[in-house]
Symmetry: C2
Subunit: 334 residues, 2 copies
Amino acid sequence: MGVVTLKDVAKVAGVSYATVSRALSGSPEIGENTRKRIIKICEEMGYTPNSVARSMVMKRTNIIGLIVTSIDNPFMSEMIAHLEIYARQCGYNLMVCNSSYDPALEKEVFSLLVGRKVDGIIMIPVGSESYDVLKMLTVQIPTVFIGENMMDLPENYVSVDNTTGMQQATEYLYSLGHRNILYLGARDNSMTHKLRVDGYYNACNKLGIEPNVIRNSNPRSSIQVGYELAKAHFKKPFEETAILCAADTLAIGVIQAAYEKGIRIPEDLSLMGFDNITFSALPPISLTTVNQPKLELAVSALDMLLNRIKRPETPHTKTILSPSLVIRNSCRAI
Amino acid sequence: MGVVTLKDVAKVAGVSYATVSRALSGSPEIGENTRKRIIKICEEMGYTPNSVARSMVMKRTNIIGLIVTSIDNPFMSEMIAHLEIYARQCGYNLMVCNSSYDPALEKEVFSLLVGRKVDGIIMIPVGSESYDVLKMLTVQIPTVFIGENMMDLPENYVSVDNTTGMQQATEYLYSLGHRNILYLGARDNSMTHKLRVDGYYNACNKLGIEPNVIRNSNPRSSIQVGYELAKAHFKKPFEETAILCAADTLAIGVIQAAYEKGIRIPEDLSLMGFDNITFSALPPISLTTVNQPKLELAVSALDMLLNRIKRPETPHTKTILSPSLVIRNSCRAI
DNA sequence: AAAAAGACAGAAAACGTTTACGAAAATTTA
DNA sequence: TAAATTTTCGTAAACGTTTTCTGTCTTTTT
């Protein structure tokens, strides 16, 4: 015996199945007594409406597609958690896909989600190299981007003010007396990273100190990458008194490399990150960093998307949230 | 102008829409030349099949529901990442839901996923208190559990051997000379945690040392909880030379509390965790722990589920994977 | 008491596919 | 070359809902 359907309860209730539908949807054109009777029968029979059939006729799935570069990155997973909870409160479910920092895969899962008829897509793009294809794809479906400032593109996005954040970080280190600050982890193919390093350059310019940047050719900003970058750097004697990392995960990698090398943080070297992930606050080295408001990013993104789903003709919007300095113990005054 | 549908391309191609469907589904009952012609037209028109309509008739969505207690727990998010990638390779997408350690919510999202007609559900249950309702629910849909040994329940699950893992951990500490080992974070309402502390008791019994357990009344095993538990414990002088935590996150909380109190790890106190999350390997305190094979857990769970979807009448199965000791630097010999 | 209005429920179309069935066309067989 | 196959494609039903349109039965109004 299969699943209970509308027709089944209609037969039992002795009404047409349109009536059952109305009883459950809260339609006003139905008698209060029959409604109660039908609802009771539904419960007794264990009827649950078939969302797929409903989506078919309503042309709406109440599913939001979510594309992230890597689920198991603390920054992302925190935001996914916020998104999932808020989305469910709004009556939506999340279909989560991993692009694994691969533009081709990113495009593939985007189309896959479009075929699945999700109502909208929230995505953390791989980087600026995929802007062109994304621009082609976003005409198919309401989309909002998180984290990556799409700049010249007219797309919807919500992001933290990366430039200001990094500028503040640099100025903070300067205020502690640091004049030789290394920026570690700049990436070429991401607008986010471009804006961050811009903030660093701005501050250097303004403060009259010499910028010094280690680029990251890898698309991911992982612990491993930070470790390798720092390890290579520490091989030769270094001049800087502080390292400013493009992400907390990179900074954690730097901590590892420094530890192996016997470099003490913050005694021998000050260190800063960006993102303020949960695991940046681990003693004894508790990372001074720049906070990204993850809950606000998630809520803004979903609000923006739902608004766009409701009114697709509305012009594209962007929201820039403010970062904030989180001072802990990985930097010292010199 | 709306989305391109089968009928649209059929009209353009001058064939019935059944023919178009056959051309795309790789059906053998269609001419090779017409197939090529139709596929070409589909591409030109930018046709993407409507998965919802397909699900309607095929009675299959190719969606797996995933219910976890908290997405932003490194152990979970690592496993989710593995699951998502493997599921997509198998032609499935993931609909992820957070139960937030709330049995009522767990039940709610389960029913929600059933209504969404997902093909199966993978879940990390909140704990043993929800076994009864889960047992009622799992008759509705193929389900497999991860991490929680359902014990007497005949349900499908895949889990690590928690008891053996904790026993090995205890024995390892014993082998380093520890005779007074505190177990921190036992929970009453989770079979997983019961089995872990059982492993500890077993070892104590076998080795002839006195067990000593701090229970955790909170359903979550978070950094915060570990911190609070340890902070309260460190208020009075303590006897133990080592603490064995029910989870890595708890251990990280212990590190925090110890640090604040000036207790050095491992010099003054040895510390072990369980799970081997990415962030357990952070210097200078790199946690000795018990590894859970996350990729294998994910793959086994999905294989088990897909098998059950294909053959629902198959008897329930369980898979117990082996844990392994990961020795780092948070324990010392005394 | 007749007419108008309103409340309620049924019939049927629609959503975009897949597929069983059947028919026509092409091919093979005798 | 006629018959028997096989290949190819069209027709139509089905999946489980929502919703428009219509009609009946009450209720209200005059």
